[in-house]
């Protein structure tokens, strides 16, 4: 299998603040690759570096064997599509117009948009089961619906490589499963997906490969069955999870979940005097982190 994406020794910093230090990884053709890491580890920044939105300090990114810094923006948009986290545009475009925007890199004409492209856009909506939203203004949809629309736009863009930035973050359970199923389907058709996610279970269940990014760079890279274990999770989430097997499926759970509900969660309360008022202070002791309320 050929390499779809190869990132080598990537360095990036926002001003003087270094964000990515020497990241290297690759994604093979036809893989659904999960990018997994805690908040602030630079997953979105890594995406933006790969997509040439941000200028690299050092390192190279190759897609389909071509150096992205040498590709034109239009050529790039035929190779890779990007699903951003959901957002609101300033104008109330209709859903079908938003999805049709995905066809832009394939459009040649000046005014008219070919019938075929419009049909592809509607089909993409239909794939996600949201064709009934086609004539609704995008800005009036819920966050989850908007995320589905952006996903549809990406499908309509019809590229061999897809970057998805937390594609299921605003979705309900049913739609999360639907999106992952669709991503599996897309991958089976020979396309390649790299998706970042905050849910270790999703990554473990649905991805072919997972790349774990921590604050110090790539922590682990490989089969989710091997990579998503208590040791790796402990490293990035500071021992707040356990991994258990239920009916042959591995599930990541919060550590000590049973004891939380039984009220045995090392709850310390004390009364604190602030001026004339007495404030009840509660310390929750979860793992080694302390939350104060």
């Amino acid at each position: 299998m050929s390499l779809m994406l190869r990132v080598r020794d990537l360095h990036f910093s926002y001003g003087a603040v270094p964000v990515l230090n020497g990241i290297s990884f690759h994604v093979r053709e036809g893989e659904l690759c999960g990018l997994f890491g805690p908040n602030g580890s630079g997953k979105t920044t890594l995406f933006k570096c790969c997509l040439n939105f941000l200028k690299l300090k050092q390192g190279t990114v190759h897609m389909c064997g071509r150096d992205v810094s040498k590709l034109s923006i239009r050529e790039m948009a035929k190779i890779v599509t990007y699903v951003p986290q959901e957002h609101k545009p300033p104008f109330p475009y209709l859903v079908n117009e938003i999805v049709l925007m995905g066809r832009t890199p394939h459009l040649g004409g000046i005014f008219g948009i070919p019938h075929r492209d419009r049909m592809i856009a509607i089909d993409a909506l239909d794939t996600l089961g949201i064709a009934d939203l086609a004539e609704r203004p995008y800005s009036q949809l819920s966050g989850g619906q908007r995320q589905m629309v952006l996903m549809a736009r990406s499908i309509a863009q019809d590229t061999p490589l897809m970057f998805l930035d937390e594609p299921t973050s605003a979705l309900d359970f049913q739609n999360q499963m639907r999106i992952w199923k669709i991503m599996r389907k897309i991958v089976e058709s020979g396309r390649t997906i790299i998706a970042c996610s905050h849910d270790p279970n999703h990554v473990a269940w649905f991805c072919d490969r997972v790349i774990v990014v921590g604050n110090s760079g790539v922590i682990a890279d490989g089969d989710p069955a091997e990579v998503i274990n208590e040791q790796t999770l402990g490293q990035i989430y500071h021992n707040t999870c356990t991994v258990q097997t239920v009916e042959g499926v591995r599930i990541v759970m919060p550590a000590g979940l049973q004891t939380w509900k039984n009220g045995k969660n090392h709850l310390n309360t004390c009364n604190q005097h602030v001026g004339q008022n007495t404030i009840r202070r509660i310390d929750y002791d979860i793992g080694h982190d302390k939350l104060e309320l």
Binding site: L51, F53, I73, Y93, G102, T104, I113, D123, T159
Partner: protein, 359 residues
């Protein structure tokens, strides 16, 4: 490229397609209707005025000119009033209104803000300074219009250069730079007003309010090519403007170079604005309001909003200027009419459609 199977292979087909085609047809229908209303308005405007000329005489005069007929068959008074006074004035109003309205549409899309107007980058303040300079110091020997155009274009160029950092022009800095440059030129205009004598002061104030009193065929020969070329370029860019209004990163991921197309769009819109302002002074509200009115009729797709706002901007200024001509025996500056008509309209928009339009 590795994706051998088409994305269509695993997609089912559906019947939502018919609805889609219908909505496109509907929009084209609305554009045609606007064209018809525009022609009707022009015809009415030709007849309106302090000197009454019947509809048959008006049509006869126009047709004789258009078909290169024998002009000596027209009464010379009709010929002067219709062909030398009213027609140039109506065409000029239309071109100015249309140009300002599409410039506003473009600025709003590129700046991703529906409350932006064509003067936001300082074109009007620059032009006002240029005009005032040439009024107060006629010794320089440059016409008011040329001076206004040069300084209008100069102000926007300054704002653009000021905002450009490391090959990129972020929207936020661009608008801020426009405000800075605009306020500097406004201050200079105040200074010139302070230095000028009474008659020059009066002329500056008149210029600032805008008007079509001196419209001639020469103005149209100057403006029409710019206006029509600008319109065609922006019309061709309609879809790209939609993409630009989604933001720089998204434009990139959709294959549209944001820096290149932002530059082209801003340059064309600025040329239209600077030309308009330098010819007739500052006409308020058209560039802010007509894009909104077009979006309410047709939705936000710029492929339709641009032709619609060109026609609606033109109509709005024709109506305003006709009112300016006929309301009183002496003329009212058209800038006053556009504001008086425009402000309540925008209030109405804000109250009735505000949430849908702006949120």
């Amino acid at each position: 490229m590795t994706a051998s199977t088409s994305i269509k292979d695993f997609l089912p087909t559906l019947d939502y397609k018919r609805i889609y085609n219908f909505s496109e047809l509907r929009k084209i229908g609305i554009l045609v209707m606007l064209g018809i209303v525009l022609i009707a308005m022009v015809s009415i405007a030709v007849m309106m005025g302090n000197y009454y000329i019947s509809i048959t005489d008006s049509i006869y005069t126009i047709i004789t000119h258009l078909t290169f007929g024998d002009i000596s068959t027209i009464p010379s008074l009709h010929n002067i009033v219709i062909w030398d006074l009213r027609i140039p004035r109506i065409i000029l109003s239309f071109l100015i209104g249309g140009s300002l309205a599409i410039a506003g549409t473009v600025y709003q899309s590129v700046f991703r803000n529906p409350l932006v107007e064509p003067y936001i980058l300082g074109a009007s303040s620059g032009a006002a300074f240029g005009a005032a300079l040439s009024i107060v110091y006629p010794i320089i020997g440059v016409s008011i219009q040329l001076s206004a155009f040069c300084f209008g274009a100069l102000a926007v160029t300054f704002a653009y250069l000021l905002a450009r950092v490391q090959g990129e022009t972020p929207i936020f800095t661009l608008i801020l730079a426009g405000v800075i440059i605009g306020s500097i030129f406004t201050a200079f205009v105040s200074l010139l007003k302070y230095l000028s004598d009474d008659s020059a002061l009066r002329e500056i104030v008149f210029w600032l309010m805008g008007g079509f009193y001196y419209a001639t065929w020469d103005d149209i020969i100057l403006l029409a090519p710019v206006s029509i070329a600008g319109f065609l370029i922006l019309l061709a860019m309609g879809w790209k403007l939609n993409i630009l209004s989604m933001g720089d990163e998204e434009a990139r991921s959709l294959g549209v170079n944001p820096e290149r197309y932002k530059f082209i769009a801003i340059a064309v819109a600025t040329a239209l604005t600077a030309f308009s302002v330098s010819l007739v002074g500052i006409i308020a509200w058209v560039g802010l309001m007509m894009p909104h009115a077009s979006r309410i009729l047709l939705g936000p797709d710029n492929r339709y909003v641009i032709p619609a706002s060109f026609m609606m901007g033109g109509m709005y200024v024709i109506v305003s200027d006709t009112l300016a001509r006929i309301l009183t025996s002496s003329e009212i500056p058209v800038g006053i009419i556009t504001s008086v008509l425009g402000a309540p309209y925008l209030c109405y928009l804000l109250r009735s459609k505000g949430r849908g339009m702006f949120g």
